[in-house]
Structure formats: structure tokens, C-alpha cells
Subunit: 348 residues, 4 copies
């Protein structure tokens, strides 16, 4: 069986593993106050052109999301996101467990628009009983989104401007950020994100690390006392250096970006194959996640050799599924998948 | 100005006031452990034909909702309700502040069906990553709903059976229960509710009391240690006897039901007036809340003498608004409203 | 039986009841946005010489404590209080239920000193792993304390100065504030409290109201969005006017202060009786709560006619108990108690 | 500089690293549903002689503590521990952040006795206003404790029996369990712990793993839906196999126990050195943590070459400090420390 069901089926990139091995017996201070963390943070600040930004390393995505949101909000405030947002759907109510409601707006492609944000906030403020409703205070977006789509620079600029005008924070979940930054047609850079967001993170777990997310906080108001929050929410590793070593390696010699580009290239090839076979997509995508709509019969056949992810039923005989490439995907495996698709299609 | 905007614009029924005055200087134990509370609880158990049910008195509806839900759920469990549910829309995230997500299903009339509950629960259990999502464990319904509609006995039976089969609790918010029980066409009784729900409350604030909600817990599993929860959530009055005295009075000589019937009768008359004038309704209603759709011009005129509640814009020239009658509504005021409507209609 | 066990055994002062009756059928807006609340708030601001302070009315003490503390703190911050503090001991963990730790310092008399606060904060900041501990951010004091003692103006000035120097909020729980303000020897005024505290409340439940606490927030930073917090925490009465009417009455013609002085005078007389009988006290007190240490035999006899409150065992044959007077205590009942004490003492 | 300040200054044991490397590119399902986790759990169940126990792997100690406690308690219930307990002192209020109060009893040696538990629970139940106080429901102990002391089997039996009689859960934090199990004089085994506790964990972070704690839940009532809780609290690694691989390795061929014994042997040697030099201890200890009381002058000298941990000032010229050995401590470094101590002592 070859796995295309997600981008976290393997361990980590060999260079990351090597760095962990090389530093393994070096003694360091605990809890992220070591030289590796400092160096990784320095590199990230440089890559983001954000010399004043705070940088912290947490273990996983859900943890990062609820820690950031809980740090940013007062009790009566909520996070606004697309109805497909990871915090709304797939984190077992972790944000609500910190006491905050997740407010949603409809979305077909996983994105949220500046206009939607403005409409929600204005409607809230115009309501005569606004104090009986949760106050929208933070906008949560994922880039790439849960559906593999990307914000354009123009969209991000507009969202950011709207948030600032309305006094909301903009938080970008970058669990798959590398795959977004390196995607064909992407026009958003790390310095753009650091300039336009109040807080965001660069995902490691899905892009070459064993685990780890690098939180960048350009807005100083959100950075205060953040380490207390990490500790309280269980995100402060005794051996914090593990995160520093990993991100230090990933942010050296363009590694993070190169391995993300690898995944995007393979996904691109897979997309072309689908297109040539006239397979429609649930949403158009340019990153490492593709959501083709295929006949049940084809999927049954495919599943004899390949693992993919169920997304949703489309009609009585078709389902949308997810195929993921990753930093670890072997070109020959992708090749095998494309061939299988071509053969199946002919048969069907 | 005459107020029809809600059912809590006045204080309390004169008999309630009188009882408070008569008992005012009698010394009693605090925190609801007095004879008045015991007597009121006894009467409620009798009216509900639920001799084993626990009965507690809390101060207000939001408080009651989050106390009951927090008492019933484990951290990873959520409350399921109609998208119009009061806990979802109008309680400033009080349920989420206790750590629990509110899950919603669509609803045009404020109600939720057994089929919807079953679908949500089955979809949850069938999902391969169900542990990444909040577990639906309690169904929250309002009766009457926020839109003034009522569950039929058949609907309630079906909901209850579905909840029991699936291992969910059924919680009925009865903030306006009196108006529902006495409404024309209602076929649900207090014993029905006590038999079919795990926990519910009989609203006092909107039906003749100064304040107060009587929580009835037929399901013994939900009753354990409930007083701790009341205290922790700020619902335990030092002078708990105030709640006992009020409910004791309301539950004596049918007072609660008579005054609710009064409001329903006046609402019925208002509805007939609207119907005669061919005014459509946002939703059909038989209780003390009516949601007619009227031209802006008519509403502007009306608002010179009457206060009502904005509900939603329907089209460019029409809005749905809410008119409420209550135990305190004076027949002559209702008469004046009907006359004004007839005159305006003629003019318009 | 005559009750001296607490100061909430009766309903409310007759003038309060009369005001509730007189306004009962007047229609007002809900949720505390009525003219009575505005007027009561105005009077309180004037009495506090704090024209800019926000004033809100909540239902009870526990509710007020956790609402204020939750409004003031970020997730990693805690409230510091005496080990005897009501929030630490007698609120079923209501503050912790909002996510915040209660930090304590030892106290023999219910009070906390500026030096203790400074020591805790300095130790926290000096600790190399301070981020692993809850950050003290708010000092909670009760005045009178749970043991009936009072802060002097000098003590309060010093506490306030220390808090301001260290960046902590000072929150005064005034559940029995009236009894403190009118006590013999008290040198603290409402304007002093408004000047020295960031937030405090004037208790109504124990001083003549049916229920209700008036929160005063001189520190504008703590006032922002406070109504959302009240709603979320279940403290916003639909008929908010009930609180306005009560406080409006209590703050008119010195009523609140006169009835508190009545209780203090009776307590004073009782204290003199104890002193004449050479009965020692657990703590010296000047307000309406007294904590005499009496032989078990005497207490057994007393309990045939009087109800008092158990405080703690002192030795094998003596217990400390609590006697409370209140705005409602009848002079003849106090007289009876004093006589019984004199007779018992003679006998014993 | 040689570090003796803690037991998490290095990465992981070489065999653990090797296993991570060997399995690095193998594709597995995510979120702990892989074969490594299953195998590690199987081995742990066997070692604990608890074939029915649930076993889960979490990332760190604080996370494990608040996840277990939040899973076990209803909102009004609290965790009882020694005043030195890690959850009370060093987790930034993480337990309180889930809404639960930490209740404490005094302790000089880090341990809590069955008699203390019984006393707290009986006092709670005997109090007439018990519902105004947090209900003790879970006893949290650490073994070894934060002061390096150990529970004897007799003490643990008694604690367990008391908890069961009183209806409380017993939760053992085994962050350093290996060092305890292998300590000279220890008479407690893993099967004992599994038999006597409702839930406990076997710490990996401090005993040879990069990170990770293995939670064992012999009490089935606490195991229900535990994976939801892990996910909600941020403890579910996408690459859960990392935890499985590590614990699988540690639990193979006695590795975990051998490396713990290594640390204990070195600590034993250090203790003997202190004893020969007549250096007193803050508490007597047999595990890998020692708390000697030394003159400031000696500590100043020592700190030129060795890193240790400040514990507390004892008198004007002496401080208690902590020295830790670990699975990674090199015998020659321990030798160097002992020699330095002997020389300094002669000089002083």
C-alpha cells in the first residue's frame, strides 16, 4: 500500500533527524531557553523581515491554535472563521474548552473574505442587544486552507486592512504554510504575512519536522507573557531544544522551502493527470492537497493499492476524496498513482 | 407608549408581590433550604407527576442553561440545538465559557427534529476521526421556541425516544413554558415533559415572577451534586426563599397557568387581527409571541405609540417584527393596538 | 427560636419592598438599561465622589466575585487573597471554574498586608522559572473581612500604593460594606475606597436589599465591555430594574447607612456583654459579626433558644461561634440574647 | 560546565534515537493508531500485570496532569495534593485553567498520607455548607515526589484503600517513576501501582525518551472517551508513532529500568559523599534527586564548574540546592563532582 492520505505519515526529513542525532547528548537549558531555539527564532525573524517579532515553538497545531486564541481574547470575545475552519470542525472543541465561541461564516472554498468579516462585525455592533452575543475579536484563517486553496496577496491585504480598521486580530494558521508559499501562482511571501497578520505560525509537523509549529507574533500586544500561556496549555517541552534544533535545520539553506516545493511539484503532476482525465475537483487547488471527484468504482479499485482520505459524497455514484503529497513523497510512488489512474480511467 | 416588545417589562403578578411582602420579615435558613422552596418543589413535582424528580430554583435563564449543560456534560461533549437556539445566539457564549461547544442544525421554525438529531449523531459516530470532533451528548430545545412555535406531543415523543436510543440527554428550556402549555392547540402537558425530558425548567421570569426558573430533573443521573453546580455558577441566592415564595405562589390555585392563558388569549386576538388584515407571519405561532411581516411605513407609524421588537428585514420595504403579550398585558392596550393596526391598514 | 446565625435571614427593608411594589407595574426596558438603574448608579457615583466610575448591578456575591475577576485577568493570572478569603473557601471553586487560580497568603484576622503582597510578587518575579507559576495580578480583599475585621485607611492606602507600584489590581469585596463603613472606629469612606481600589462592590443582599450587589469600577481599564461579562456569567437580570429600584431606595436619604449603623450598634452592645462576661473572641471585631469563644455547655444551652453559626473548635471544651446582627435585628431579640448570656454565665 | 540541575538536559537514550531513525520513513496511520503504539501499550500492560488497562501516550507532564484530571472530574470537584505538588506549584495553573481547584494539605516531605485524605474528606462532608466548597474527588500524588522521596508499599496501600472507601480517585504522577522503581529500598512495583491507582503515568521525558508520558488507566470508568480528551487538550500528536516507537524501545529488554538504575546508583554515590562530609539534607532521598544543605561559600565555589538547582534558603549562610543525576549522567562527571565536594569541604 502506498499512502497519499495525509502529509504526516512518515517521521522527519533526514537532515532534521541528523541534527537531532548530532546534538543529542549536548546539555542545554530546558523549556525553550536554549541556543538552538534562539538561533531558529533569529532565522525566522530574518526570513519574515520582522526583527521585532516574538517567535515561540509549540508542539502541534491544535495546541497552537487554542493557545494563541486564548492568549488573544477576553472571555466574551470569539474567533471568527470559515465554516470549514479547523478550529471549528476538527479540534474536539479545543477553542471552546478555553471558554471562547467559534463564530463562523459560510465558505465554499475554505476562505473568508474581508467583506464577510466586515458584515459580521457591523451587524454585531448595530444590534441593540449586542452584549447578549459573543463579540467577534479575532479572525482565524488557514493558508493553505483545509481545502488546499490559497489566499492571494490582494485578499490578504484586504482582510488585514479590514481587521485593523475594525480592531480585530488576524491569525493565520500555517500548518501547511510551506506548501502554500511554494505553490505555483502563490504571490504571498513570509514578510507579507508578518506585515499583514497579528500572529501566525509556520507549520513543521506537516513539512519535514517530527513535530512542531513556529509561532510568530508581529503584534507586540499579543506577545506579552506568551510563555506563561504556552506552559499553562501544555505546550512547553522540557526539552524545548528539540523544537529549536528542528526549526534551525529547516530554516537553514532553504530546506523548508525546497522540500515543500518538492511536494507541490508532485501534486502539480497529479493534478495534471486528473485534468487530462477530465476528472473534476471539489475545489480547485494548487498546493499539496487535491480533492478530485471520482466514481465509486474507480475509488474501490484504487484503494487496493493506494490509501487516500474520504472527503464527502457528491452524488450517488461519486465521492470527493483527498490525495496529499508531502516532503516525503517518492516520485516513483506518485508515478505509480498516475499510471493507475490512467489505466482505471480507460477501463471505466 | 405601550410596550409589546417583550414579556418582562413589568415586575411580578400582584399575588407574588403580596406573598413576598407577607413573608418578608420571617426568618428562614438561607440558600434554598427553607420551607417555601420545599413546598414549591413539592407542588411542582405533583404537577409534573414526577414524585422522584429533583427540583431546584435558579435566578435566570442564561444561568440555568449553562448550569444545567455544564452539570450534564464531560469536557469533550457538546450541546446540540437549532441554529436559532438561545444558547447559540443570545447568551454571550455562556455555554462555551463553561468549555462546551454548541453544535447546531438548521431550522426554519426554531424547532429541531428527531431525524436531525439522529443524523448528526450517526454521522459523528461513522466518521473515522470522530475523536477530533465534539461529541454530541445533549439536545437543547426551547418550548415555546425563540420563534414562538411549539413542539407537538408526537414530535417530543420522537425526540425523546431518539435521544434515549442514542444515549443523549434531552433538555427543554421552558423560559416561556406557561405560554406554551396554555396555547390553543398545544397537546403537551407537564407530566409529558417530565416523562420525556431528562431535565427542563419552568420559567418564572417571563410568566409572573420577579425572576426565577424552576429546574426539574427527572433523570436522577443528572441530579447528583446539582447544588454544588448552582453555587459554583452563581445561581444560589443567599435568600433562596425568594424563589420558593414566588414559585409556591405561582403553583397555587393554578395561578401560573391562568396568567399564561391570559397572555395567550390576547395574542390570539392580535393574531386574528393580523389575519383579517392579511398580514403574513414569519412563522406561524400560537403562543404569546407573534412575528408579523409589515411594511416599513406601517411600522414607522405604529412606533409612535407602541414599542415592539425588530426581528429581521424581509425585503426592501418590509420587516418582520415581534409583538409579545404577557401575564401583565392589559386588554385595553391590546385593543388599542388592534385598532391602530386596522386604521393603519386602511390608510396604507 | 431567634436567629443570629447570619445577616440574610429576612427579606428586605420595608422601604425597599415599598419601592418594588410602587414600581411593580411600570413598564421599563430590560437588562439594566432602565431609569432606576441609571438613577441608582448616579447616586452611587456621587456618594463615592467618583463621577467617572462605571456602576453595574449584579445579583449575588459569588457571581460578582467571579465576574469581576474573570473580567480583569488574562488566563495565566491569578487572584491573591488571605487564606480565609471567601473566593478561596466558600464559593465552590467559582473563580477556578473561570480558569483562574486563587493564590493565598496566611492571615490570622482575615486581612492581607501590603508587605505580603509585595513579598509574593517579588518572589514570583525573582524566580527563574516564574513562567511555570501563576502570575499574581489582582489582590482580593473583603472589607469587612470574613472574620468581621476592618482595614484602616492607612492599611488600605498602603495596599493600594503597593498594588499600583507592582501593576496589580485591587478588588474590594464589600458584601457587608455598610456594616464596615458605619462601624465604631472605622476611618475609611466610600470616596477613599473609590480612590484606592480599581473595582469594588457595595453589598445589598446583606444590608437591606432582597438581593443585589453594586459594582463600582473606578479604573476605566477594567470597565471595558463589562456588560458582556455580566451577561455571559448569568448576572444580567431580564428585569434589571429590580436592582435599580432597590439600590435607588437604599442610596436615598442615607437609608443604607442608617440601617447598617443599627446593626453595628446592636453588635456593639452584644460585644460589651461578652466583654463584661470576660468571654474571649477569636478575633477582635467592630462590625456586625462577632466570634466569641464559649464553653460547649453554654453553647448547648443557648442553642435551645438562639441560632448561631459554628466557626471552629478551639479546645476540648470550647468552640468559637459566630453571632450576626443585621439591619433587621430587633432590639428586643438582642436584649433577650444578652440576658440569656448573663444568666448562663452566672450558672456556669 | 557540568550540569546536575535536572534530568532533562540531554536528548534521548541512543537506542531510542536509533529506533526513531530506523522507523523514520515507514508510513503509519496518524494520531497514535499505529502498530508501534499498540505494541508499546501491550508491553506496558504486561509489565503492569494489567491486561485490561487502557494505555495512552501523551507529550509532556503538565499536559498529562491536566488532561487526566479534567477527564476525571465534574466541574465542582477538585484534586487534592500535597502543598508541594507539581500541579499546585509549577504548572502555571493548568489544572485551574480546566476549571478545577487544586486543594492542598501540608507536607514536609512531598508526600500525603491516607489520614490526611480521610480528614479532608470527612471535614468536607461534615460541614453544613459543604456545597459551598469544592468537593475533593481525586488524590494526586507524585512518586517519586517533587522532593525525591518515595511512597512505601504500605503507604500506597493505605492511600488506595482510603480513596476507595471514600469514593475518590487515586492518580499517581510518575514523571520520574523509573528512578523511583529502581531506587534502593523501594518496595513498590508496577503491578502494585496498577492495582492500587485508578490512573497513573510512566514518565519518559525524564527517563530516556526525547519526550512522552505513558498514561495507564486501570479504572475503566476513567478510560471512557479518553482520546477525545487528549485531542481537545492538545496532546494528540499527528505523528503519534513517535511516542509508540520510544516507549516500545524503552519497554524492551528492560531498558527503561536499567537506565533508571544507572542514575540511582550515581545518586547513591553522591549521597554517600555528602554523608561522609556530614552534609545534612532538606529531606532524606533515595532517588536521583538530592537536596543537600550547603554553605553559600561552598555553593559559590561549586558553581564555577557545576550547574545545580536552587531550592530554598535555609538560614543566613546556608541554602538547600538540588542535584540530579539521570540516565545520561556520565560516571566521570559524577566522580568530578564528588571530588570537588571533598576538596571544598576540607577547605571550608
Amino acid at each position: 500500500m502506498i499512502y497519499f492520505n495525509n502529509d504526516y505519515a512518515e517521521g522527519c526529513h533526514e537532515k532534521v533527524l541528523q541534527a537531532l542525532a548530532e546534538t543529542n547528548l549536548i546539555q542545554t537549558p530546558g523549556y525553550g531557553e536554549d541556543a538552538y531555539c534562539r538561533r531558529a527564532a533569529e532565522k525566522i525573524r530574518a526570513l519574515c523581515a520582522a526583527p521585532e517579532a516574538a517567535v515561540h515553538f509549540l508542539v502541534g497545531g491544535t495546541q497552537t491554535n487554542f493557545t494563541v486564541i486564548d492568549a488573544a481574547l477576553r472571555p466574551h470575545q470569539g474567533a471568527l472563521c470559515a465554516v470549514t475552519g479547523h478550529i471549528h470542525v476538527h479540534e474536539t472543541g479545543a477553542v471552546e474548552a478555553t471558554g471562547h465561541k467559534v463564530l463562523t461564516v459560510p465558505s465554499a472554498d475554505g476562505k473568508i473574505t474581508a467583506a464577510q468579516v466586515a458584515e459580521v462585525v457591523k451587524a454585531h455592533r448595530a444590534d441593540s442587544s449586542f452584549e447578549h452575543m459573543v463579540q467577534p475579536k479575532l479572525v482565524y484563517i488557514s493558508n493553505p486552507t483545509e481545502l488546499g486553496t490559497l489566499y492571494s496577496l490582494a485578499e490578504l491585504e484586504e482582510l488585514s486592512q479590514t481587521c485593523r480598521e475594525l480592531g480585530l486580530y488576524l491569525f493565520l494558521d500555517g500548518a501547511r504554510l510551506g506548501y502554500g508559499l511554494m505553490a505555483k501562482g502563490n504571490d504571498v511571501t513570509l514578510p507579507d504575512i508578518a506585515r499583514l497578520c497579528d500572529v501566525f505560525y509556520i507549520g513543521g509537523t506537516k513539512v519535514g519536522a517530527l513535530f512542531g509549529e513556529a509561532v510568530v507574533i508581529p503584534n507586540a500586544a499579543l506577545a506579552e507573557d506568551f510563555r506563561y500561556l504556552i506552559k499553562q496549555h501544555g505546550g512547553m517541552l522540557a526539552k524545548g531544544r528539540l523544537l529549536g534544533v528542528q526549526f534551525d535545520t529547516l530554516m537553514t539553506d532553504n530546506l523548508y522551502f525546497d522540500i515543500a516545493a518538492h511536494a507541490d511539484r508532485l501534486a502539480d503532476k497529479l493534478r495534471q493527470t486528473f485534468e487530462e482525465l477530465h476528472v473534476p475537483f471539489l475545489v480547485p487547488g494548487v498546493t499539496n492537497q487535491l480533492f478530485p471527484i471520482l466514481p465509486d468504482a474507480v475509488l474501490d479499485k484504487l484503494s487496493e493499492h493506494f490509501v487516500f482520505c474520504e472527503q464527502q459524497r457528491v452524488d450517488e455514484t461519486h465521492r470527493a476524496v483527498r490525495f496529499c503529497t508531502s516532503w516525503a513523497t517518492r516520485p516513483e510512488d506518485l508515478e505509480a498513482l498516475c499510471e493507475a489512474l490512467c489505466q482505471l480511467k480507460v477501463e471505466s
